[in-house]
């Protein structure tokens, strides 16, 4: 009897694996589409002549390091034209910095990060060009409110007036947020659990929710016979305080600067 059910279970797994394989192939096709879109977007971008002249395709690591630095400083100078808070993520240094007009106002240490291999598929020249300009955030979602607004109804007269009470500054909500930047890049921020070796329940649930959201979008596209969409993702783990500071500081259409290597 048990053998019979095992056999049935194995038979049921066959179509599952077949469907998973089909999804995998569609996803790879989506990746290639995303690579083409990314390259096309930045090829059409008009940079100044100096930046166009600098970026070359080379295997020389020292020259690439210089190109990288050039792109990084160029992006920071571009971002300094804005008066608002800019987020600068430097992976070699493992730091996430907030800048205003080019001045560092806050530096946070990145505990762990994961960068999609999507960027290894991009033509280096186009990638450096992309990194030499800040990315603009189009959408943000988070586990905490952007503006922790409290509504207070004014008293009708002095008899109803109560002096302000001491605000509740306890900090219990887990901090997870997602920034979606143009042209289609996802930057996930997760707070590091207090005990780094312990897996955070909230983190696992948030991770499942994020992954499920992508899957459901893909399934919807499949059902409507549309091409799947792929957005490269970057995942960062930061201390909760720093994550909260960064999320509350950056505006809705924030600029992000990346230094990948």
């Amino acid at each position: 009897m048990q053998k019979k059910f095992l056999k049935i279970f194995l038979l049921a797994c066959l179509p599952i694996f077949a469907l998973a394989l089909v999804y995998f192939i569609l996803k790879l096709v989506a990746v290639n589409g995303a690579v083409d879109r990314f390259q096309k977007f930045y090829s059409q971008l008009d940079g100044d002549d100096k930046s166009n002249a600098v970026f070359q395709l080379t295997n020389d690591s020292a020259y690439n390091a210089e190109q990288n630095s050039y792109a990084y400083y160029h992006a920071q100078l571009e971002a300094a034209n804005s008066d608002s808070v800019v987020l600068c993520i430097n992976f070699p240094d493992s730091t996430a910095t907030l800048l205003i007009k080019g001045v560092t106002v806050h530096t946070a240490k990145i505990d762990r990060y994961r960068v999609s291999n999507f960027f290894t598929k991009i033509d280096q020249r186009i990638l450096y060009k992309a990194l030499s300009y800040p990315f603009r955030v189009e959408r943000q979602t988070s586990s905490i409110p952007k503006v922790p607004l409290m509504i207070k109804i004014a008293p009708k007269d002095t008899s109803e007036y109560t002096p302000d009470i001491v605000p509740d500054t306890t900090d219990v909500n887990p901090v997870y947020f997602l920034l979606e930047a143009k042209p289609g890049m996802l930057v996930y921020f997760y707070e590091t659990p207090k005990n780094q070796s312990r897996i955070s329940f909230n983190g696992v649930i948030t991770d499942i929710k994020d992954r499920t959201a992508i899957l459901l979008d893909d399934l919807q596209r499949i059902v409507h016979f549309r091409k799947l969409d792929y957005k490269p993702s970057i995942t960062l783990r930061l201390n909760r305080k720093d994550a909260k500071i960064i999320f509350r500081a950056i505006p809705n259409d924030a600029l992000i600067i990346l230094k990948l290597s």
Binding site: T58, G102, A154, A249
Partner: protein, 241 residues
């Protein structure tokens, strides 16, 4: 008769066994379906993305050999010069003159001079309260974020009470020139304006320093305020995040 009873009993037993067996089959079938669905979603969510990443890593960008650039010493020198100029421009953005940085999330400030931190401490910033009146006026009390400059400095400031300060106490709003508009002794010994009515000033509510309690202004204790006032000049930069 006994044989008939035994036969009947056996048939009933078989029927009940049959029913249990059928129920077991349905349960097992349901379990298989649920496990299959869970396995399916688990594969799609947790197996496909890393496999996709692996394929991307293996099939990275392969540049055509004709387009590969081999830099000469002259090329190195050129790019180093360009990067150096960029770096100098970037470093020059940090002012050598005194400036202050305010963290509104955790209500802290840092004062810099000659690009070095010379003082830091607690302050109070906007409470993120939305005050709604009964006559279609509302005010939001938050400290604005971004880049500002010190536009004015004053000693022994007197607070000119805006309309919301009367509304939130349930008082009628007086005329613009009414004496009740002016209140001395609540802003500390110094005040610095950063524009749009926002000030850096002192406070009589020192126990609330470090908490988001203000109506948008930045409050400091007396010692910090004096140090900031004496360090910053007109036009000094204020960075609020």
């Amino acid at each position: 008769m006994d044989a008939v009873n035994i036969a009947l009993a056996t048939t009933d037993k078989d029927k009940s066994i049959g029913k249990v067996s059928k129920f077991n089959n349905i349960l097992a079938g349901l379990l298989i379906v649920i496990l299959s669905i869970i396995l399916f979603f688990a594969i799609l969510i947790y197996a496909i993305p890393p496999l996709t990443e692996l394929v991307m890593k293996v099939n990275g960008f392969a540049p055509p050999s004709s387009e590969i650039f081999s830099p000469t010493p002259k090329d190195y020198a050129k790019i180093k010069l360009l990067t150096g100029k960029m770096q100098q421009k970037y470093v020059a953005l940090t002012p050598p003159r005194p400036y202050i940085v305010v963290n509104t999330t955790y209500n802290r400030f840092k004062l810099y001079k000659n690009r070095r931190l010379i003082r830091e401490g607690f302050c109070s910033t906007g409470s993120y309260t939305l005050l709604k009146s009964h006559f279609n006026r509302e005010w939001i009390f938050q400290t604005p974020k971004g880049f500002y400059r010190i536009q004015g400095k004053i000693t022994n400031p007197v607070w000119r009470r805006p309309d919301w300060s009367f509304v939130e106490e349930g008082l009628p709003i007086p005329s613009q020139n009414d004496p009740s508009r002016w209140e001395a002794g609540v802003l500390g010994d110094y005040a610095m304006s950063i524009g749009d009515g926002y000030l850096i000033h002192g406070t009589i509510y020192k126990r609330f320093l470090g908490m988001p309690v203000t109506h948008g202004c930045i409050r400091m204790n007396d010692d910090d305020l004096e140090a900031v006032y004496k360090t910053l000049e007109l036009g000094s930069k204020v960075y609020i995040y």
